[in-house]
Amino acid sequence: MAMGIIEGGEIMWIYQKSLQHPVKVSYPDLKFAKTVITQYGGPDGELGASLRYLNQRYSMPTGQAKALLTDIGTEE
């Protein structure tokens, strides 16, 4: 969990050895994997959404809006 983007520094993102919600990966489950992967990727996935937030923040007029998009984009 938790990808933190640090601009201008050497670190583009960091990984925290923890999850937002407990998960146990125990056996292959193709049907569930399909659901998970469509949530992750594709046009309506989390990855696309987070990158959109992190790019939209540059044109936000207020500090509040920049912060919110930074935080939501990082969380996703």
């Binding site: 969990m1 050895k17 923890s18 937002q20 407990p22 146990k24 919110l68 935080d71």
Partner: protein, 85 residues
């Protein structure tokens, strides 16, 4: 390694991290809410405590030097990873 203990200590970090994150998002749009600021600081205090306790037992939560000094061995590569607990 005691997996049950590791799980319960990690869950504390996860739970308090979630509280801090949600309060953070709320404060982004309600920056003058004194109660929320207070709650946020309480959460941060507990989160710090839980993280320190966890890292003391089970190694760093962050990579690239962001969890401080390494001990005698390189614990970052140690199992279990969070999805294996």
């Amino acid at each position: 390694m005691n997996c049950e203990q590791q799980m319960s200590m990690l869950i504390k970090v996860q739970e308090m991290g979630f509280v801090a994150l949600e309060l953070n998002l709320y404060l982004d749009t309600h920056p003058c809410d004194k109660d929320a600021l207070n709650d946020f600081n309480c959460a941060v205090k507990l989160l710090k405590k839980y993280k320190q306790a966890y890292e003391q037992e089970f190694g760093p939560l962050l990579n690239f030097g962001m969890s401080g000094f390494a001990k005698e061995s390189w614990q970052w590569i140690e199992n279990p990873w969070p999805w294996e607990l």
